[in-house]
């Protein structure tokens, strides 16, 4: 993406953020959720799409981030702008805890290990109910700045800025040696080692990075919704994140954003057939896996190339 494209996007983003002030609180809420999904999708895509590591427990790191930041706020009275980063860090460390043994596993064994980790986190949340509220869930202390409680629009701004920062940082990373090394681990670990790259170190950093981003998404979700419970961080949630990146395009930043935004908007369009929404969601995932595994982003880029080609040809005549 050229720098003029980037400037256009950045300006467009700022305009959107500003314009949203005029919208009602429900659209603003939806857009906030969408951007939280983008953060989660970006995190997962770097781990699975770039570094090639299957993870079925992405939502568990969201849970760790959400519960950590909520409990820190509730018990120590720390403000959200301290508790959410702390949740992010803790989630990242948890990613290291899983990642360290996980680097030895691949394929279905890795999938199984992440599934096991998810269950452990779920059950721990449910069983430690005196701390976490168990299956009944936990109320999140109201976020405030300088004594005033935050309403939907300021929350939207915070989430939006976090999302923009995440996209900027992760784009930088994926275009640098870090991103190339992630791809190398996925494409040919054998060759990567011969080039002096430590596969386990790279996998570990991928796990920690994606877990931290999930933790951030979880903390922001707690901030936005005001209530968390273990159900929203279960297998279905993990599969939803996987759907984001499959539909959008694995291994591509644009794919993460596209997939998360499109699928966040989907429930709104499915309103008239709400009971079928679960079914439709899964059907979409299967359809993409079978027919368009490279995701929407490939359609978009080939479309753009064709347009550019036409433009160039037109310019020549």
């Amino acid at each position: 993406m050229s720098s003029s494209h980037k400037t256009i996007l950045a300006v467009g983003f700022l305009v959107l953020m500003g314009a949203a002030a005029g919208l009602g609180s429900y659209p603003v809420y939806l857009m906030s959720l969408a951007m939280i999904n983008v953060i989660a999708a970006v995190g997962l895509n770097m781990l699975t799409g770039n570094a090639g590591q299957i993870s079925l427990c992405h939502s568990s790191f969201m849970a760790i981030g959400a519960y950590t930041s909520t409990l820190i706020s509730a018990h120590w009275g720390l403000p959200f702008w301290v508790s959410i980063p702390m949740g992010t860090v803790l989630a990242g460390l948890a990613g290291g805890l899983l990642g360290a043994p996980a680097t030895r596993l691949a394929g279905i064994y890795l999938a199984l290990a992440t599934l096991g980790f998810l269950q452990i986190v779920q059950i721990t949340i449910e069983e430690l109910s005196s701390i976490t509220g168990g299956v009944r869930g936990l109320n999140v202390p109201k976020a405030s700045i300088a004594g005033t409680e935050l309403s939907d629009y300021p929350k939207f701004l915070i989430i939006g800025l976090s999302c923009a920062a995440v996209i900027w940082i992760c784009s930088n990373l994926m275009k640098s040696r870090v991103g190339r090394e992630f791809d190398a681990v996925r494409l040919s670990p054998h060759a990567a080692q011969a080039m002096g790259l430590s596969i386990s170190r790279i996998k570990l950093s991928a796990f920690m990075l994606s877990a931290a981003l999930a933790g951030l998404a979880g903390g922001l979700q707690a901030l936005l919704v005001g209530f968390i419970d273990p159900v929203e961080f279960g297998v279905s949630a993990s599969l939803r994140h996987i759907t984001f990146i499959v539909v959008g395009g694995m291994g591509s930043m644009g794919g993460s954003v596209l997939g998360a935004l499109v699928l966040s908007a989907l429930p709104e369009f499915l309103r008239p057939v709400k009971e079928y929404s679960d079914l439709i969601y899964v059907a979409i995932l299967l359809a993409f896996l079978i027919f368009l595994p490279r995701g929407l982003i490939t359609l978009l880029t080939s479309l753009m190339n064709r347009v550019r080609g036409i433009g160039r040809a037109a310019g020549r005549t």
């Binding site: 040696r177 791809d183 080692q193 011969a194 080039m195």
Partner: protein, 259 residues
């Protein structure tokens, strides 16, 4: 002067088979050593043992004066050893440029934070890496394909990329496993010429497994011959060519084939 690479009675076993038996050799810095022998002689296994890709049964490997026996592959590589692969093992979905960039990735001094925050140090390191990679691609006549994905390119071309990628980090020792297989005569000549020029410029030590005798004789300073896991001869190309034990080993292979 100490040798760049020293193998000390190196032995590798697979199950009951002794793939490499008590192999000792020394290669001086800047030397171009050929490693030849009939199929199954243990040449590739020896290279795999040096890089840590297969476990060493007994004996030692020294790089300069450092004992590197049994170190994990990435650690061996970081000490300055690179290799090319018989089947290239390209990063298939990445472009040739990105493949070569990965060749020198481990030498890039860019921290995670610097990369994430796009600091000047990261930007200039990236710029320099790209320039070096382009220079290498040009040397091996790959410039027109720099932005093409490896998966879309023919094997012979990828073999040249493998060479460029291996040389990107300016290794002390480069081990080449059948570098010209899959190349046409003229491709092979050009690639080997480029490699030899680069070796002489940078002083990199080469250990080359090759079946193409013509290429080997033109390229190598000296040659080690292996057969059935053991070293059976060593010397200059002309010496080795005239050595009866060597002729026997190859003739043995030929008559096996004709039986």
């Amino acid at each position: 002067m100490h040798p760049r690479l020293r193998l000390d009675a190196l032995s590798v076993r697979f199950g009951g088979i002794q793939a490499v038996q008590q192999v000792s050799l020394q290669i001086a810095p800047g030397e171009i050593r050929g490693l030849i022998g009939p199929n199954g002689a243990g040449k590739t296994t020896a290279i795999n043992a040096i890089t840590g890709a297969v476990p060493v049964f007994s004996g030692d490997v020294f790089l300069d004066d450092t004992r590197i026996t049994g170190l994990p592959t990435h650690a061996v590589s970081r000490l300055g050893i690179r290799r090319t692969f018989q089947h290239v093992e390209p990063f298939s979905e990445l472009t040739l440029l990105e493949n070569v960039l990965l060749g020198l990735s481990s030498t890039m001094n860019v921290s995670f934070a610097a990369a994430a925050l796009h600091w000047t140090s990261a930007r200039s390191a990236e710029k320099q890496a790209i320039e070096e990679s382009y220079a290498l691609l040009e040397r091996f006549d790959l410039l027109p394909h720099a932005q093409v994905r490896a998966a879309e390119l023919p094997f012979g071309l990828l073999k040249r990329m493998d060479l460029a990628r291996a040389l990107a980090s300016r290794p002390k020792l480069l081990m080449m496993d059948e570098p010209t297989s899959g190349m046409s005569e003229s491709e092979a000549d050009a690639a080997i010429r480029a490699a030899r020029e680069l070796a002489e410029e940078t002083g990199v030590t080469l250990l080359v497994i090759e079946h193409n005798m013509r290429v080997m004789m033109a390229l190598a300073h000296s040659i080690t011959v292996m057969n059935q896991g053991k070293v059976i001869a060593e010397g200059s190309p002309s010496q080795v060519q005239a050595n009866p034990a060597v002729i026997d080993a190859y003739l043995g292979e030929e008559s096996d084939a004709s039986r």
